[in-house]
Symmetry: C2
Subunit: 518 residues, 2 copies
């Protein structure tokens, strides 16, 4: 009966009038720039099971192998010691090659920004958040769902720059109004102009990759050697599950590895569709494919930075529809984290949902994804904000809901004080039985930084909330992203650098750009 | 680019037409009846910090004590060895008394139902879910928020009975159309008629408690001695934080302890209002109050079953409004779980939100609460379904959203298979590169039980979802609770028992019932 929020009012303990100075005044966002997860990762498999999956994946690679569609990649695999059957394009990889690749792959990867304060370590207990990447559509509450545009792309980058809890950029949304051969030029330039966070690019052929690297090199004022000396950007390599590596992806591994840039090798394995119906089976297949990608990268350049990506979920067996943020997704996340730690690579996961709209389902599926990934020990979270509709849409409102959730996790990661002053015996003695702590010295010294102040959540009572229009969290998110864009200020840029970037883009467009490879 | 849900369609792997038999057919709900949490509880404090909090709480009880408003309770404390100052009603409790109480309190509590298959162990890794308890208001999408009625109370009980993931009943919603002196008679009878799950009652004075026990005894066909031989029901005791135990709560401890029924002693401590602004301080105060209640229960009857309840959250320092499902709530949950395990008692937590409507905020705050509680090692989760608006409203739609989330957790708790058959090397060999697993033998043998089939979540693609009316999860929940009520069948009841219950209620009403004590 007494577990009701109005008890604080009924008991006369609501903060006295005139105490408006209790508004939290400290900017907590700076502490979101580098996150460390204090929790021991959870496990779904015994150590023996993890070893058995690692072994089974190697059996797949030894006996069956991967179909590799790019001849140059088959040539590299062959030179590196794999067995290539040119008639079937199958590449078999023995466990010695896997062991050598695991020995040469770096355990610790730090993405380098222009400003060292924005460097992002992604290993051990470090956690990095990057936004939605790849959806062709954009959605907002007023205009509904439509094809993504360059303006939308830029808006997503501005939102990313505005919230410190986003650490690395992402593809945001596909700007379908930009011709495909110029799209990488426009999007990478926009990332570099609108944000000082680490740019994220796609592997859509050597031409686009070279352009992206050049734009980053120009923006940072680096020589080609300096550019290659550190990881400056990352891309995702999706195998074509089951057991196939297609042309742009193989090409991406080769070009990123040669340049020492980060490969996030992520088999997209939906159990029951492109992977076995058992989660352990789907993870075994995904592990085999990730190892195959790792081996190619290490053959190309021993020491090339590779992140172990996992994206294992299930389909609805009734309809064949994909599902995300499911119980199976949570368990596959815990299991994938165990596999990543078993082989010693940083681990990438995702904040995913199958909901078609930024509603309660999108929130609980995202929460399941986030807890699964973060308690599984995730180092790099792609699609951390804005991903909706199984990745077919970027939602402005979902972006804001996700920022709220990410900030809450950033706060959960902060340690709890437990000094004698934190235990507050003096305050308890001062306040006494049935008193209140609103005005006591212990509170006054700490209230400004004591608690997370939410972006989206509305904690007003029902009367105040109703009078103010009875908005849902999605309604409030709609206002918030617009307010954020309205006050956006791009980071300062050296005019000479801007000019150089513009000149490069103009020249390459005049030359015809670089069509995506498929 | 390829991390999109339509990839399963684009690649031609959507399940072939005519395979409609792939609909999951196995009823998974039976496995939700008894839940075991496989995960090692998370920690926010070192063992030293936990010991320091336990020590500081005892310092509070030794030096300051609790104000106890019921003279009979002060008399019991005094007889048990506490130092009572009758002029201030303060009761000081030394650590020897605490140690004795901890020694006599049972470590393992099992709630007994009439049907042994519905007995509910709540200790160790066992997890028990009970619904919302106490809100005065009810809300649904069509009729909005209004005062709770007896019809609403019965509806909530019917919903509880309909979903196996609810294990113990709860107060549901206050039936404000039933006079307070008769309310306990009507609600307890309704629980016993509409459900075969364990009833949950309130401690609102000795008269009501005696009636509730009698009704349960009659319904189960037990002698008074048989009734008292096992825990048959539970109530929540909220201290009046800080440091006060009021009359009905002290009376509840005495009467429940004497009858060997379960006391869930739960200080409701909102950091910054009725508790120190630091989470460690709020937990220290809550721990002291819970120990004070435990000591009284063990003085009354050594071995009385007591659950360590925690409900520590924070207020919004701007407005004084309570907040739930916050980062501070998550960390206080982990910390409270550590304290419960330190003293060896079962631990109770809650699924809480401050949202005024069953929207995305209500879902992400509930998820934060659920993960905080469950990964903190919670044994008994009150308010697991239906709680909204900081406990002022029970929402039908939120109830269904919560059932979906609870079922998802029940599934997360199920172990993942990792046998050679689960690893599925044969299926991978059978399907081969770029094939699909929809029809392979490995899938056909397992698809019926492979994945959780959701209640509320809609995984259809955007076109199908739009054509079907573009409902949000909250809209679907609105349909679902109505469909569930429409098909509800109460459990069979012996007419003689029904008659006896009715006769008891009629007699007690004729006698004037039992007004709540305050």
């Amino acid at each position: 009966m007494s577990e009701r929020g109005d008890r604080v009012e009924r008991k006369g303990r609501r903060r006295p009038a005139g105490a408006a100075s209790l508004e939290p005044a400290i900017d907590r966002t700076r502490s979101y720039r580098h996150l460390t997860n204090p929790f021991e990762p959870l496990k779904v498999f015994s150590d023996d099971h993890v070893a058995a999956i690692h072994d089974a994946a190697q059996v797949i690679l030894e006996t069956q192998g991967m179909r590799v569609l790019l001849p140059e990649a088959r040539r590299r695999y062959s030179q590196g010691g794999a067995l290539v059957d040119e008639s079937t394009s199958m590449v078999r990889i023995d466990r010695g090659l896997v062991a050598a690749a695991l020995a040469s792959a770096p355990r610790e990867i730090t993405l380098h920004a222009k400003d060292p304060a924005r460097h992002m370590p992604m290993y051990g207990r470090h956690v990095v958040f990057a936004p939605t990447s790849g959806p062709p559509n954009i959605m907002d509450l007023k205009r509904g769902r439509r094809a993504g545009t360059f303006e939308d792309f830029c808006n997503v980058m501005k939102l990313c720059q505005s919230y410190e809890v986003i650490h690395v950029l992402g593809g945001g949304v596909e700007p379908q109004d930009v011709p495909v051969q110029f799209r990488h030029l426009e999007t990478t330039r926009a990332m570099l102009m609108l944000s000082d966070k680490i740019p994220f690019v796609y592997a859509r052929g050597a031409g686009q990759i070279a352009d992206n690297f050049e734009l980053i090199r120009i923006a940072y004022g680096l020589t080609p050697e300096e550019f290659r000396a550190h990881p400056r950007t990352a891309c995702v390599i999706n195998t074509n599950s089951p057991l196939q590596l297609d042309i742009p992806m193989a090409d991406g591994i080769i070009n990123f590895a040669e340049a020492g840039q980060v490969l996030i090798i992520t088999p997209f394995t939906l159990a029951g569709a492109m992977a076995p119906v058992t989660i352990a089976g789907a993870l075994t297949l995904a592990h085999a494919e990730a190892l195959a990608g790792l081996v190619l990268a290490q053959i190309v350049r021993p020491g090339a930075p590779v992140v172990y990506g996992s994206f294992t979920s299930n389909v609805d067996m009734k309809s064949g529809s994909p599902a995300f943020g499911t119980p199976e997704y949570v368990k596959s996340s815990f299991g994938a984290g165990q596999l990543a730690r078993h082989i010693g690579l940083p681990w990438r996961s995702s904040n995913a949902t199958a909901s078609n709209t930024p509603d309660a389902q999108s929130a609980y599926e995202s929460q399941m994804s986030l807890w699964g990934a973060l308690l599984g020990g995730c180092n790099f979270m792609l699609h951390a904000a804005g991903w909706l509709e199984s990745g077919l849409t970027t939602s402005y409102e979902k972006f804001m809901l996700d920022i709220e959730m990410l900030q809450m996790f950033a706060e959960v990661f902060q340690p709890l004080g437990a000094t004698p002053a934190d235990l507050a015996l003096d305050a308890v003695a001062e306040v006494g039985p049935s008193g209140h702590f609103f005005g006591c010295a212990h509170t006054m010294e700490r209230y400004r930084t004591a608690f997370y102040a939410p972006l989206v959540s509305d904690w007003r009572n029902f009367g105040q909330w109703t009078e103010a229009g009875a908005e849902t969290a999605t309604d409030r998110s709609h206002r918030l992203w617009q307010e954020t864009l309205a006050r956006f200020q791009p980071p300062a840029r050296d005019p000479a650098v801007v000019e150089a970037l513009d000149a490069y883009v103009q020249r390459r467009k005049a030359e015809g750009g670089a069509p995506p490879v498929s």
